[in-house]
């Protein structure tokens, strides 16, 4: 294991401690549980709170998107595992400003059932909640079963749009509808080149022979749709972009936001080599790129690989992406 950590069991808590020490102006722990993190100014009276959550190991997901114009809070699990319903419930109370709370997180069973349980607890305390799950990984289910897809990097678009809507004072129904609309128009596909090593066990998140790649891999190493010899950046981009265009049914004249995301160990240089090709393909098809993001937005510790996400935009969605936001890891001015 090539990790700069102390006791593996303390990894998550120490990481959170570091974030709190580094960004006390932006985030805080409202109670005694370090696994609950909220905006420094939470709760915002009269505003919809947005709560996300999930396993650790994906920075800047999920805790990196807590801030102005983004999520209001996060419940943090161990590496790759769900936070508890109790933690989610605590976070819900801490961000509730009277206008209800939107649960917005990735579609994984553990997270879903724990958020649902927490929602039941919140209801008992008269905090209305609604739920929208990110489910953008087109490799995880065919289009007919798209509501069962895993949620990966594309949830960033939903955070950004829903966060902007909550910030301007939209109602819970409105914020949820915006999140749902964005999720509906988001698609992602990734490629994995090497696995994550779990800090506690030293196990690998998946096995891949040297020189091979897995197209469609999930951010916890979930199986993809094609395994074979490593191809060129252009060939990989072609595979991913073709799948995304088909899934979103993009045609000439459409506009998209593009996110080229690194999964951890892959250098930024390679993400730009990928972006280059994505840009060429889309431009060639007369699909215009209204906004682009290149960097690490949702990782899997030191996994090597990348993902490409598209959000099909219209004026409303684009305006929400362009609205100001500020968290420890993301800023839009």
């Amino acid at each position: 294991m090539k990790k700069i950590i102390n006791e593996p069991d303390r990894f998550v808590d120490e990481m959170i401690e570091g974030i709190l020490l580094a960004h006390p102006d932006l985030v805080k722990t409202p109670g005694t549980d370090p696994r609950v993190l909220v905006r420094a100014d939470a709760p915002l009276a009269g505003r919809v709170g947005i709560l996300t959550g999930g396993g650790s190991g994906h920075l800047p997901l999920f805790k990196g998107y807590v801030g102005m114009g983004l999520c209001s809070g996060v419940a943090i699990g161990n590496v790759f595992s769900s936070p508890s319903s109790q933690q989610i419930f605590e976070a819900t109370k801490a961000i509730s400003g009277g206008a209800g709370v939107l649960y917005l997180y990735g579609n994984y069973g553990g997270d879903v059932f724990n958020f649902d349980l927490a929602g039941d607890l919140a209801e008992l305390e008269d905090i209305p909640t609604q739920t929208v799950v990110g489910r953008d990984d087109v490799a995880s289910q065919p289009n007919e079963r798209k509501t069962d897809r895993r949620g990966v990097a594309g949830i960033f678009f939903a955070y950004k749009a829903a966060g902007a809507a909550a910030e301007r004072g939209d109602t819970l129904e409105e914020v949820a509808a915006i999140a749902e609309d964005v999720v509906e128009h988001t698609a992602t596909m990734g490629v994995g080149l090497s696995p994550t090593i779990f800090p506690t066990t030293g196990a690998k998140s998946f096995d891949l022979p040297e020189g091979e790649m897995e197209i469609g891999i999930g951010i916890h190493g979930e199986p993809g749709i094609h395994r074979g010899p490593l191809e060129t950046a252009d060939a990989i981009a072609d595979r991913l972009v073709t799948a995304l265009i088909a899934d979103l049914d993009l045609t000439a004249g459409d506009r998209v936001a593009v996110l080229v995301n690194g999964l951890g160990a892959t250098p930024l240089e390679e993400l730009y080599v990928l972006y280059r090709r994505v840009h060429q393909i889309l431009t060639g098809l007369n699909i215009s790129i209204a906004k682009k993001y290149v960097g690490e937005y949702a990782t899997s510790l030191e996994m090597a690989g990348a993902s490409i996400s598209f959000l099909k935009v219209n004026d409303a969605r684009l305006a929400l992406l362009q609205a100001p936001a500020k968290s420890p890891f993301f800023e839009e001015v």
Binding site: S82, P83, F113, S140, E222, P223
Partner: protein, 213 residues
Amino acid sequence: MRPVELNESIRRSLAELVGYADELRDLDQALGDGDLGVTISLGANAVIESLTTLADDATPAEIAKTCAKAFANANPSTMAALVAGGLLAGSKTWAGLTEIGTADAGRFIRAAGENIGQRGKTQIGDKTILDAIMPAADALEVASDGTSGLDAAIAGAERAVVETRDLQSRRGRASWMQERSIGLQDPGATAFWRYLESWRAAESVAAKGKELA
């Protein structure tokens, strides 16, 4: 069974269940992410701990709620949340009861199963824990006495577990394996079956202990 006996029986059976943690880890490794062993052992120990400090006058429903809370937070996961939600739903069928019999156990388990089915958007045959729960509820509800009811419940659960091998997983992490899930035994269903077996084993040891005393 009175509350204090119930409390003790649950603790004994969970201590027994921890012995199956490695089996469950391996099954979940093959079909999912391998954390079910940890969920079961941390969850069982957390429940044992909170039952140990629970007041003697706690009702059966309160005991079930205590189990739910401890299990939910020990190692959050699909199983932790579904089981906790199931226990809460089950506890509602025990409202007002000060003692519980075999049929009460059956009703509890059915309510838990229905809750899990709802929350998990699952039906029997989807290759989940539900497949093992429902036959056990059936057996307990019609049983003439506790011992035969438990035996029948275990037999029904075991049959269901074995049958999961031929099914394709339709829910959760395992469903991503699609056809490759066929041939592998569902870890969640196995966990429930092993829990019933743990109960029987623990009770028979306890009964022997009482005989000797």
